[in-house]
């Protein structure tokens, strides 16, 4: 059984159709890239998977490990192992990054019936993980994303992902706003988390990110549907030709 099955998904926001019968199957341990022009529904797919309010599913199904995702609250989905790395990570004044990480990790563990981490165990884990991502101790003590640069915010997303160890990570335009050095750090962080037990959906507008996070499967999204699926070479083809061909195809 596939880890994630999206079947004939139709989604509206405020009466406007965004997804039009999207199908997507993600096997365990695979990395899927979703590419597409602006407005094709990439971020909508990410938010619907994570459970953001305001997205009305009018038709279709999302199954995660065979379970109906649409019936679950966002925090429940997270505890099941779905993680969304936000395109625009939120700033949370007054909540220290460390507190945030611990609250999230222990809330998930509690819901799964696992023991909460002790403070020393948690601290050790977070230090080790942060070290790999070049995140300073000072950043962990600061309020979540407040005063962070674009690169720091994205690294913080990957830190959260590493700490929470999801089974499915959805990376929504993680490359946006990053220079090449920051992009490499983030991609290294993601690659370190690749495992036969973990699947990823990498959403991006540009092929550049896929030089660093090499996908197993590439999907092209246009007008709310997957219009082409192929191997990693499809990304290069898109880079050369642009999206025009697919926009026409879907029309």
């Amino acid at each position: 059984m596939a880890l994630l099955e999206v079947k004939n998904l139709h989604v509206e926001i405020g009466g406007k159709k965004i997804l039009n019968g999207l199908d997507l199957t993600v096997e365990k341990g695979t990395v899927h890239a979703i590419m597409g022009p602006n407005g094709s529904g990439k971020s909508t797919l990410a938010y619907v998977l994570a459970g953001k309010a305001g997205y009305e599913v009018t038709e279709g199904q999302i199954l995660f490990d065979g379970e109906d995702v649409l019936a679950m609250a966002p925090d429940e989905r997270a505890a099941k192992g779905i993680f969304l790395a936000f395109q625009y990570p939120m700033e949370i004044p007054g909540v220290a990054t460390m507190t945030f990480l611990r609250t999230a990790l222990n809330a998930q563990r509690k819901r799964r019936g696992e023991a909460e981490f002790s403070t020393p165990d948690f601290m050790k884990r977070v230090r080790d993980t942060a070290g790999h991502l070049g995140i300073e101790q000072d950043m962990l003590r600061r309020a979540v994303n407040v005063g962070f640069s674009g690169g720091e915010k994205k690294r913080n997303e990957i830190l959260q992902m590493a700490m929470l160890e999801p089974r499915l990570a959805v990376l929504d335009e993680t490359d946006s706003g990053l220079d090449i050095d920051a992009l490499k750090i983030v991609a290294d962080g993601v690659n370190r988390l690749r495992s036969p037990e973990r699947s990823m959906i990498v959403i991006t507008h540009y092929q550049r990110l896929l030089d660093y996070i090499v996908p197993d499967v590439v999907h092209v999204l246009s007008k709310g549907r997957v219009v082409k699926t192929g191997g990693k070479e499809l990304a290069l083809e898109l880079e050369a030709k642009g999206y025009a061909e697919f926009a026409d195809e879907a029309a």
């Binding site: 994570a50 609250a73 925090d75 969304l84 990570p89 939120m90 007054g94 609250t103 809330a107």
Partner: protein, 444 residues
């Protein structure tokens, strides 16, 4: 056409007049102090209980909210004192010198009156009775207030603390003044305290108003504190209002602050049916730095009004005001803040911010910031916000696996944390955050 229309006296006003007439011979203090009382009562009587057409009381119509007057509290008996012992827990294990006032009367046997160099503690009742010089110099004179609630307090003041901290003294432990109502029977309490902190002294004052009886408590509190902060003194004042759910609480701080002082004030309002917290502060000397902050946590039908008047009467003073309220249920939170900058108070730097977080559709926040600036070389500003929790922020937390109630609690803690951070005492910051967390848990 401004013919004054005298209203019919309300039941509470009639009872106040009767109570004053019956009590005035027995209340402590003769000569000038008796005159002070009499003048205060006449001043009150001329205006009556403040109501919504009195601008300063616009949002807290005391005439409507105070239906009657509870009898003046009797001196506490043994069982009242036994109940009172539970008070003060709100500050956890922060080590303090406890001074207990039970049903408005100083309870020396429940207080720590061990001697300490530079610290003098007396009861207001005794100080008034014997015509104490410090009381004669300051009571009713620290800030000349026209406020009706202050006038009533002056007319009926019974007991309280009189504390003097000598020049240059540094008081090791915070002084914790605990005003506790024990709820034996309906009662009203008029406590008055005077704290004089002389030049260069260091002290931390905690004032808590609590309830240690059964049920919600049927009582009224009118408490006033006059505070004199000398030049170069460093003073923290934290007021915790944690009255019983049925209580009517009006309290007034009147503070005069000297030159090059550091003054840090924090109000934490969490309990009481109707709370009016008044702060009248005046900078009397140059180059003082002050932080005046507060947090209000309200639910049910609670009503809490924080009214601040900050008078920059000397040049070069800096003040920062930050007040946060979290309003649930049908509660109503009011903040009125006025900064006055006198003509000679050049180089004043004052910034005031008030923020309300509404957790329900039926809660109400009223914010009234005012600046009255008569000097031309100042930096002053104010801001006010009111709103619900940010849905996008909540989603971010939930998407990380944090359940909705916990996510809300985390954001609310962060919201009030910004104000609580202004308290210098780390232990006190922690216990107040814990009290806030307990409040949030009780809400869930």
């Amino acid at each position: 056409m401004s013919a004054e229309v005298r209203h019919m006296k309300t039941a509470a006003e009639l009872a106040l007049a009767e109570t004053y007439a019956a009590a005035k011979q027995k209340l402590p203090g003769k000569g000038p102090l008796a005159v002070l009382r009499e003048d205060a009562f006449r001043h009150f009587e001329a205006q009556g209980l403040p109501h919504r057409r009195v601008e300063e009381w616009k949002y807290t119509d005391l005439r409507a909210l105070m239906r009657d007057l509870k009898p003046l509290a009797s001196p506490p008996d043994a069982s009242a004192k036994a109940r009172a012992k539970t008070a003060g827990k709100i500050i956890g294990d922060v080590e303090c010198r406890r001074l207990m006032f039970v049903d408005g009367a100083f309870a020396s046997e429940l207080s720590d009156v061990t001697p300490e160099t530079g610290l003098a503690i007396a009861s207001m009742n005794q100080a008034l009775a014997k015509g104490d010089a410090l009381v004669g110099t300051h009571v009713g004179k620290v800030i000349e207030s026209k406020d009706a609630a202050v006038a009533l307090n002056t007319a009926l003041m019974g007991d309280g603390a009189v504390i003097r901290i000598a020049a240059g003294a540094s008081i090791a432990r915070p002084l914790h003044l605990i005003f506790v109502a024990t709820g034996g029977k309906p009662a009203s309490m008029f406590t008055r305290s005077l704290i004089v902190i002389e030049k260069g002294a260091r002290a931390m004052l905690i004032e808590s108003h609590e309830y240690a009886g059964a049920g919600s408590g049927d009582y009224q509190v009118n408490a006033a504190l006059e505070l004199v902060v000398g030049d170069e003194a460093h003073v923290d004042h934290v007021k915790i209002i944690a009255e019983g759910a049925g209580a009517l609480h009006v309290s007034s701080l009147m503070a005069s602050i000297g030159a090059r002082a550091r003054y840090n004030d924090f109000s934490f309002s969490i309990g009481g049916a109707v709370v009016r917290n008044q702060l009248f502060l005046r900078f009397d000397g140059e180059d003082t730095v002050a932080g005046i902050r507060g947090v209000c946590l309200l639910k049910g039908r609670q009503h809490a009004d924080t009214t601040l008047v900050l008078d920059h009467s000397a040049k070069g003073c800096q003040s920062r005001e930050l007040f946060k309220s979290v309003l649930d249920g049908e509660s109503r939170g009011i903040f009125q803040g006025k900064i006055i900058v006198r003509p000679h108070a050049q180089k004043t730097d004052g910034k005031m911010m008030t923020q309300a977080l509404l957790l329900s559709d039926t809660a109400e926040a009223d914010n009234k910031p005012e600046l009255e600036i008569f000097a031309d070389d100042v930096q002053c500003g104010h801001g006010a916000t009111a709103g619900a929790l940010d849905e996008d922020l909540l989603f971010y937390l939930k998407a990380r696996g944090i359940p909705p109630k916990e996510a809300e609690a985390l954001l609310i803690q962060a919201f009030i944390g910004e104000a609580v951070e202004g308290i210098e005492h780390a232990g006190l910051r922690e216990v107040l955050m814990e009290a806030a967390v307990a409040w949030l848990k009780a809400r869930a």
